[in-house]
Structures are given as structure tokens and as C-alpha cells.
Symmetry: C3
């Protein structure tokens, strides 16, 4: 129940981010709908494809599709009001990537993959919906560009899960703790403007 609420909040936040990017590109109604879908379920879909977990998750129950559909309709109607929700959306998104990271890791463990592959799957689940959104909108994916720490929080949070279980912390506690690590790192990174190290020469 608790997870499902978070899952839906994350789905909503991702769908709205899709709507905003798509409307900035002046896509039509169908385009906005597809971009919102892809942003929400693209990461999990890629994960399921890579491990052979088909039919992919969102095809097996109506929760995602109906949540996204309702979100898109409301987001289009209230698009001018969305700016007042920026802070909530940021929070939902942050909680979303925390949960999605751990959902991806869980699937990786079920497929008996190595920890580093599980972390990769978790990061994909959290971040690659946005990557596909940006590809469809003809942009270089934003998470490859903005130097802000985003995907990195998923990687570190995912790694913390394996650290916690190594320290003999029970799995369910480690699971929740890792979600909080992702969320805290993201909040701290934004609060203190922590960025990835610059790999280019100053003058470049």
C-alpha cells in the first residue's frame, strides 16, 4: 500500500515532466500523451526488456496506463497552474527516482544478476524514461548534460543498499534506507549545488 502510493506519485511526477517537455515542443495531443507515457514507463520497460521480463510490467495491469492518462488530461487542462506545483513535483520526482531505483535493483536480484548490474538496472529504471523522452523530442538527454547530480544519486543509493545488506542489515530495512539515501543525496545536491566534476578544460 505504502509503496503503491509512492509508485503512483512517481508515475504522476514523471508523466507531468513528459507533458511539460512535449508541450514546450508544441506536440499535438497524441504526441503529448505518448511522451508522458514514455517518460513514466520507459525506464522500467527498458529494464524489463534487458532481463527478458515480458510482457513488460505496465502491460499487465491498468494502474500505470490509467494513472498516466488521467495525469495527462489534468496536466493539459491545468498547465498554467503547474508552475505553482513545482516544488511538489520536484519532491514527487525525487521520491520517484528513489523508489524506482530500488524497484529496478529488486528485479535484478530476482534475475540473479551481479550487484553492479542490479545498480545499473535500478538507475535505468529511474532515469531512462527521461532519456527516451528527450530522444523523441530531438534533444540530447538532459541527464547527460546538466552536470547536476541526478543519475549519480541513484547509483550511490543503489550501492548503499548492497553495503547495508553486507552489514547484515535486514533486506527490508536496507531497501527503505537505500530509498532515503537516493532522496537525501538528491535534496542535498540541489540544496548545495553539488555537481559532477568538470571533465573539460576551463578555457574550452
Amino acid at each position: 500500500m505504502f509503496y503503491q502510493v509512492i509508485d503512483i506519485l512517481g508515475t504522476v511526477a514523471f508523466a507531468i515532466s513528459g507533458v511539460l517537455v512535449a508541450m514546450e515542443k508544441k506536440l499535438d495531443l497524441f504526441g503529448v500523451l505518448i511522451i508522458a507515457f514514455v517518460t513514466s514507463i520507459g525506464g522500467g520497460t527498458l529494464r524489463d526488456l534487458l532481463i527478458g521480463n515480458t510482457p513488460v510490467v505496465w502491460m499487465r495491469d491498468l494502474t500505470y496506463v490509467s494513472t498516466i492518462f488521467i495525469t495527462v488530461v489534468l496536466a493539459i487542462i491545468f498547465v498554467n497552474q503547474l508552475k505553482y506545483l513545482r516544488r511538489s513535483l520536484f519532491l514527487f520526482d525525487t521520491i520517484g527516482i528513489g523508489l524506482y531505483t530500488m524497484l529496478g535493483i529488486e528485479k535484478g536480484l530476482q534475475a540473479e544478476l551481479l550487484p553492479v548490474m542490479c545498480i545499473a538496472l535500478g538507475t535505468m529504471t529511474a532515469c531512462f524514461g527521461g532519456v527516451i523522452r528527450d530522444m523523441l523530442c530531438n534533444e540530447i538527454p538532459i541527464i547527460f548534460r546538466r552536470k547536476e547530480i541526478y543519475a549519480t544519486t541513484c547509483i550511490l543509493g543503489g550501492a548503499s543498499y548492497f553495503l547495508f545488506t553486507r552489514l547484515s542489515i535486514p533486506e527490508s530495512y536496507a531497501y527503505i534506507a537505500a530509498i532515503f539515501v537516493v532522496i537525501s543525496l538528491r535534496l542535498l545536491a540541489v540544496r548545495f549545488d553539488i555537481r559532477l566534476p568538470n571533465i573539460y578544460n576551463k578555457e574550452a
Copy 2:
């Protein structure tokens, strides 16, 4: 036999649309070939991947690959004459998306998916070859932009199939009727310039 003819006509129409987009972008011979392939078989490939139906359909017999190959060779040679075929190509394309929608729905039913997921699969089969074509050609997918009703006819046609079967119409009749719904809606939409509702402010 009847289906196969339609299937091949659709494949040809999609491949030619790929050749035209690729040649507009001045791609080389290999690029034109790949774009034609992707346009023809991209939608069905995505569908097969999502439901785990592998090896994907076009890998299992030579019909598609050879049809597309011959189409590309002829289309490149007779590219200047293609404009005289515009009306036929539009018709093939329209028949193609009708058939592909139902082919996708059929696969969804075989995988025991919910009707709404089947409709999504059908629409993908019909429309997402063009989406991948446009991504490869560095364009925002045309079906997300032109406000014209295209994918929407697949969605409505697909929905009509489930309506028909609910009304106890035998499956094979419903199947053909739904194909005609897609085709008719598309023809009507183009004839009367019916578009998706505008979701942007007039002044924008």
C-alpha cells in the same frame, strides 16, 4: 492469401515512405535501406519485444526482408516517378495501418493482455515504425506533430473491434470490420481535414 497481399502492400508503402524520408536527408545507400526496413518492420518489432515474442517476426521468414529490399531498389531507381504514385501510396499506407492495427491486437490477445493494452500494441504496430524512422533521421516524430488524425484512427479502430466482439459479432467479421473502421476514419479525416483538438492557446 488475402491478408498476405494486404500485408505486402502495407510493407511496400511503409518502405517507400522510409526511402523518401531518407533520401530527403541525403543518406547513403545503406542508410536508405536501413530507414526503409525500420519504417516497415519497426512497429512490429517493438510490439514483439514488449510481449516477448522472439525471435521477432521478420526474422522468421524471408517475405518481409525480400519485399523491402526489392521495394528499396525500385524506389531509388524510380524516385522521380514516385510522385505520380502518391495517391496509391496513401491508399496502401492507409490499408497498411488498418491491417497492422489488427495484427497487433491479435498478438496482444494471444498474449492474454487486456483490451486497452491490445489496442496500444495495435497502434504501435501500425505507427511506431514511422516514429523510429523519424528518430533515426533526427526529427521529432511526425505523428506527434501534425495534428492530423493518424494514430487516433488506429486507436478508434482497435476499440471498435472490442465493441464489435462485445456485441457478439463473430471474431473474423469483427476483425475485418475494424480494419475498415481504421481505413474509413483515416480517409474521412483527410477528406474533411479533421484534426485533433488544439491544446494550446490561440495566441501561443
Copy 3:
């Protein structure tokens, strides 16, 4: 052992090509890492997805991930020195596509696909990492554009394998011979500037 060395050299060459493209686009550290990964393992991943060979290869052992990671770190540090390695990189890349073509063909044979599909899989394994790299970097894939013979050498080399086995040459010899066909054709094509036939009018 011999194959593994070649495989790693190919992986390194592909990863470096990813780093160079990503750094030209001024991506951040995470972006450079992902582009390097995708360039190296994208072709094989696509191949594995199409034939349903999941979890995809690179998820099953640490060789690829660690090779690519180390390559990226070194490539970023020594980016200014990379230009002195251009010739070696070209050679690694050429050996890489030769080997990857045959690795793809082998997987196709294991999946009992027709020769032409095996050749398609081989070409994808060798060339489609670069295609996905270019899509993510918002460019039309370079192998669709430069008229240089690149993918074509994989197709011809792959075809030579089936020719050799038809001529009753033992499989393992045919395998190695086909790798050499790819490599030789690529070297000859670059040496003598052999290109695909131009499909456009001169004046265009």
C-alpha cells in the same frame, strides 16, 4: 583466449569512439560514461533483444562493464593524447567489427535463423552501437551518411562465411576467414577510398 583479447580490443575501441563523440558534445561525466557503454554494447544488446537472448550478454559477466569503465576513465584523462593513437584505434575498431560480425552470426545460427538474418544480426552487432550513440547525441547516424564502406564490409564478410561453409570449408576456418574478409575489405576501402554508389543526381 585469442578471441577474448580481440573482443576486449574491440570493446576498448568502441568505448573510446563513444567518449570522443560525447566529449565533442560537451556531455558531463555521466553522459560520457553512458555514451561509451552504449557504443560498445549497444549492437550486441539489440541483437540479444531481437532473438530473445536475455538477460543480455553484458549483464552476465563483469568483463565488458569493467573494461569500458576503465577505458572511459583513461580516455578522459588522456584525451589530448588520443589523437596520437588514431591509427591504433582505427585498427582496433576494424578488428572489432570483424569479430563482432561473426559473433552476431554465431548467435543467429544458434537461434536457427536463415543466413540472411544471421548476416543482419552480425552487421547490427558490429554497427548499431554507433547508431544508438549517434541517436543519443542528436545526430543522424554517421554510418547512414558518409558513403564510406563500413557496414557493407560486415555484410560482405558475413556473406563470405556462408559461402566458405558451402564450399565445405570447416566452420572454424570459415569463421576466421570471414573475420579477415571484413578487416581486409575495410582496410582496402579506406586505402583506395572505395565508396557506396551515389544514389543522387549529380546536380542535387
